[in-house]
Amino acid sequence: MIVNESVLSLGISLLALFCAGFLATKINQSLIAVFIVVGMILQNFFPVTIITEFIATLGVIFMLFMFGLEFSVGGLVQNQRKIFYTGIYDFLFNFPLGMLLGWLLGYDLVKSLLLGGIIYVTSSVIVAKSIIDLKRSANPETEHLLNILIFEDMFIAIFMAFIVGIINYGHIDAKNTFLVMLKTSAYFMFFIILARTSKKFIDRIIDIEHAELFVILILSIIVLSAGAASKIGLSEAIGAFLAGLLLSETKQRHRISEAIKPFQQFSTAIFFVVFGMSIDYKHVASLIPIGIFIFIVSSFSKVYGGYFIGKKYALSKKAGLRLGFSLIPRGEFSIILAGVITMNHALPYPLKSLTGVYVLLSAILGSILMKESDWFIKWFIERKDKQTDRNV
């Protein structure tokens, strides 16, 4: 019964996604925000079933897998100093702020940590797309921007492994923290050793010409790795991420990406819809003012952080501010982090709805700000120059 009804509702959801997404691309808006809104509307017509929830889980798994697959370990090693320093500044400007806001809202430590992550992590998907659309790939600030995104995504992947481990234990104390950290690093070590020692072996195994068997093998690697991580109390997402990282060094990387992409696109879209469906209208109205407040405060810290990093790396004021403005959009990772607690019903609702409001605001306004920030930057710099003139 559930299955039959789910098929129809899934079909309706997908059609709605297409229509909304089509309109969104016409006005150059990010799909993430639109998909969430579609979910919010659809919740009036049918409930989230165990099936859609399962597809949503796969969505996170595939998203993290693709992220691992496209991650350039070589690039990370090559630019590690730059990535580390720009990343750390951005982290210090934004993560503690998020935690502080969480504390002010009366959240416990786990939720404050989550809010820290939600506010800290910029959406790589939205920003990378905007860079290309706005023809900014050659700008001097862009390489720093991308370095920051790498650091953030890497940090969030590890952070998520850790926080899910903690949530699975129920509460933070020294012993649990230690155990979770031990498990996380053991899982990471396992994959690093595997990648180091068996590269050729893995290359040989996955070199399968049969198209269908190839897809099945790759899917089994992804899902097994995710499942194993979940079995030992870590997040499925981190398992998938490491599987992606492992396969990113193989010769078949491109083929894997082509094969998995359709699964990822489908399930990730459903993930955003399910997230939207679980946002409670009742909470939303009261959360909007807080959402706007957090958006303004955190945008300010991102812009200032970007400006600060720009100064450190001898970028012009203009480029530095543009760097900061480009960091405003939040998206996929914030939602995934908020989604971490939906699957765990022990924790209450508002953080998730708040994240929904916050991501909608920052994804929509963020991409507009990224595009339209030029006049503000001009005004700001002219004003500053006048001030310095006066001082001289």
């Binding site: 090559q78 990378a128 290309i132 023809k135 790939s137 050659a138 700008n139 600030e141 390489e143 991308l146």
Partner: protein
């Protein structure tokens, strides 16, 4: 020769920066999708003054034009010397060709026909100015240079059936 700075743009592609003598900067971004973008930055500006997006094919064509392989400008003095009937010919080496699997040295092409092999195109790779020790392989495409008579000579000596003049585009 100016220095070319290379830089990874993770998730986007690779960036090459050329500092021009004029003080302007030319930045070329090769996207992972194969698209190329050429940006011009006027001296001390941090925003491009122009952007040109090219697909893979267009980029290669322009590259050939810029490097002079497509059309070589000749100075007037030299132009008088160039003979009207010098031609380039694209030759496909068939599997059972007498050219196949022999070193250029062994073939004695220049001595017997007067023609020079300027380039060997082997699948995706291009070998410009091949050394005498280079082995001609079946299915290679040879670019040869000579006057009409020499080319005719070459074609009859090596029994060439496939001339690729029309494939040049």
């Amino acid at each position: 020769m100016s220095e070319i700075k290379e830089c990874d743009l993770p998730g986007i592609g690779k960036k090459f920066t050329l500092q021009l003598d004029s003080g302007d900067k030319l930045v070329i971004v090769i996207h992972s999708s194969g698209e190329r973008e050429v940006f011009k930055f006027i001296k001390d500006k941090d925003e491009p003054s122009s952007v040109t997006a090219l697909n893979d094919e267009e980029a290669r064509q322009i590259g050939a034009i810029l490097s002079g392989t497509y059309f070589q400008p000749v100075l007037e003095e030299e132009q008088k010397l160039t003979m009207k009937n010098v031609t380039m010919e694209w030759i496909k080496v068939v599997t059972d060709s007498t050219l196949a699997n022999k070193k250029i040295k062994e073939l004695n092409i220049r001595k017997t026909t007067g023609v020079s092999i300027t380039t060997i195109i082997r699948g995706e790779t291009v070998i410009p100015n091949p050394s005498p020790g280079e082995v001609v392989k079946p299915l290679d495409t040879l670019i040869i240079v000579g006057n009409n008579e020499q080319i005719k000579n070459f074609i009859s000596t090596f029994e060439i059936k496939q001339r690729l003049e029309n494939d040049r585009q």
